[in-house]
């Protein structure tokens, strides 16, 4: 492995690895959702993307509103604890917005798709979907007969994105990436992808990674680019760095319901800023409101 640093700007990472028509994954289950990358994709005007995520969340709602998406692959499309993703709903309910193609699973189904993709298998078997209407509306959920027991098992096809964008607490310049707190399906999504962009709160020395190797979720050997973007997951959160901006999520209900208010938001906070630093300058109160409290663990003895 070469020792050349993979650290690049968000602008360069998106320009190089996200193309019109690509299948793109920005993962993170509530935790570590990389809004900074989604915003840069909107700024660069990407079109016809197939966006995949378990929970499209506000980030894909914004990207759908901005016209980046042709298709959405997902398992739960809501604003957790609040309500709807209204740009998504307008596009699916056919209320004026351009129609969005959808391909829908359950969480287990999406997890299994990433697992198959990560292991480079064509499909993944799971004991699921009997008695539900999901296979009726999604013909890609199929069945296989177990060659050992004869049992009929549901199958889902591998998901192999063109690029996955993974937000994390820290990585070294090669892309050895450490995550703690909720892990979602980031590891599977990264290994399933042709390219991986890692976005981190902090760039650390390789020695920091080597001191605690069990915390490494994504190794440098699958990483193409490392972007350093503090607060890059806001209004999502980064355990140990900043809390979720629940107020922003609550406010999204009214904001996304009103198409003009949503456009104004995109103009002010996405298209109207040059990069993440400018986004943060517009919101100087974030650290005071959301900075994480100290809750350190003791560490372990890795000696032999």
């Amino acid at each position: 492995m070469s020792d050349v640093s993979k650290v690049v700007s968000m602008r360069d990472a998106v320009a190089r690895f996200v193309h019109d028509g690509d299948t793109v994954v920005i993962e993170g289950f509530t935790h570590l959702i990389c809004f900074a990358a989604g915003h840069e994709i909107i700024r660069q005007g990407r079109r016809d993307l197939t966006l995949c995520r378990l929970t499209p969340d506000l980030i894909y709602d914004q990207m759908i509103a901005a016209g980046c998406a042709r298709k959405l692959v997902f398992s739960w499309a809501g604003n957790p604890g609040v309500g709807s993703l209204h740009a998504f709903r307008r596009a699916v309910e056919g209320r004026g917005a351009p129609r969005l193609e959808i391909e829908e699973y359950s969480h287990f189904g999406m997890v299994a798709r990433f697992a198959a993709g990560a292991a480079r298998l064509p499909f993944w078997p799971l004991r699921n979907y009997m008695g539900t209407d999901l296979p009726r509306v999604n013909p890609r959920i199929r069945h296989v007969t177990c060659p050992y027991t004869g049992e009929a098992l549901a199958t889902v096809p591998a998901l192999n994105p063109d690029v996955s964008i993974i937000h994390a607490q820290r990585a070294d310049a090669q892309g050895n990436t450490q995550i703690w707190g909720l892990l979602g399906v980031q590891k599977e999504a990264a290994f399933a992808s042709a390219h991986v962009i890692v976005v981190v709160e902090e760039l650390v020395d390789e020695a920091v990674i080597r001191a605690d190797p069990n915390r490494t979720v994504i190794p440098a050997l699958i990483v193409d680019a490392v972007v350093v973007e503090p607060w890059g997951a806001h209004p999502s959160y980064a355990q140990g760095y900043y809390d979720r901006d629940n107020g922003f999520y609550v406010a999204w209900e009214a904001r996304s319901r009103d198409r003009d208010a949503l456009e104004r938001y995109l103009d002010d906070f996405v298209r109207g800023v040059s990069d993440r630093a400018a986004y943060l300058e517009k919101q100087p109160d974030l650290a005071a409101r959301l900075k994480a409290k100290e809750r350190r663990c003791a560490g372990v003895n890795y000696g032999f």
Binding site: F29, H31, S106, H107, T132, V185, Q239
Partner: protein, 247 residues
């Protein structure tokens, strides 16, 4: 009231798959009262969570701090749920039908929905795998039609195949906790029947809120209202900001 009724259904030491909203409140109430050793599993990957604040979402950072284990979601669904380790699953729904089938996907047709709902999340697999499922929903004719528009999470099949024939590991919905009464599944027919009434509610009030001729247990019980301790915990400790408690 619904939260305290749901909490009482949980047995100390059980492993519960916790959903967003009222189930979250019910599980934390049970843990603070009669079931301190309840193991809360969230689909986000927290196992044995002891949230210090009521989580707004099932991915809240407070679920991680001080929990027994945090794992990836592939582990949650394969090693915990499909492995058969979940005793109780909690589900809500926009529609619940005569046989306990739940719809959280669409109102109207799938291709041209009148209302697009969030979809399954983990609900389909919870309904299939949890050893028993508790459903929480407010009673209204709109929420309790004879047939749901879309089966997201399977109940008891109705006229079709039984859960056993379909080889579902779990027993499915056993109780539906509403804001007026508790419904139970009749083991013979797979239908929801009236099992217990809240104080001041009559069977006719409940029948008017469901879209099928609701059968009734021979002697429906009366549900005790929340006691002073439960009320204090719910209002002052667990949900002081009224995230889930309304009215």
């Amino acid at each position: 009231m619904m939260a305290s009724v749901a909490a009482r259904e949980l047995v100390d030491g059980e492993v519960v798959f916790v959903g967003i909203g009222l189930p979250n409140l019910a599980c934390n109430l049970a843990r603070a009262t009669h079931a301190p050793r309840l193991v809360l599993v969230y689909e986000s990957g927290a196992v044995g969570a002891t949230p210090a604040r009521l989580p707004v979402s099932i991915g809240d950072p407070a679920l991680v701090t001080g929990s027994l284990m945090v794992c990836g979601m592939a582990d949650v669904f394969q090693l915990i749920l499909q492995n058969g380790r979940i005793a109780v699953g909690f589900l809500g729904g926009a529609q619940v039908d005569r046989y306990g089938n739940i719809n959280t996907t669409v109102i109207g047709s799938y291709e041209r929905p009148a209302v697009r709902l969030p979809g399954s999340g983990g609900a389909a697999e919870i309904a299939i795998h949890a050893r028993r499922t508790l459903v929480v929903a407010k009673l209204s004719p709109r929420t309790f039609p004879a047939h749901v528009d879309f089966i997201t999470s399977p109940g008891h099949g109705g006229a079709g195949a039984s859960r056993r024939q379909l080889r579902m590991p779990g027993a499915g919905p056993v109780k539906v906790i509403t804001d007026k009464a508790v419904l139970e599944v009749d083991e013979g027919t797979g239908e929801l029947v009236l099992a217990a009434l809240y104080p001041g509610v009559e069977a006719s009030d409940v029948r008017g809120c469901v879209g099928w001729p609701l059968a009734c247990r021979p002697r429906p019980g009366r549900v005790a209202p929340p006691d002073a301790t439960e009320l204090r915990l719910l209002r002052d400790v667990l949900d002081p900001e009224r995230l889930y408690l309304k009215g």
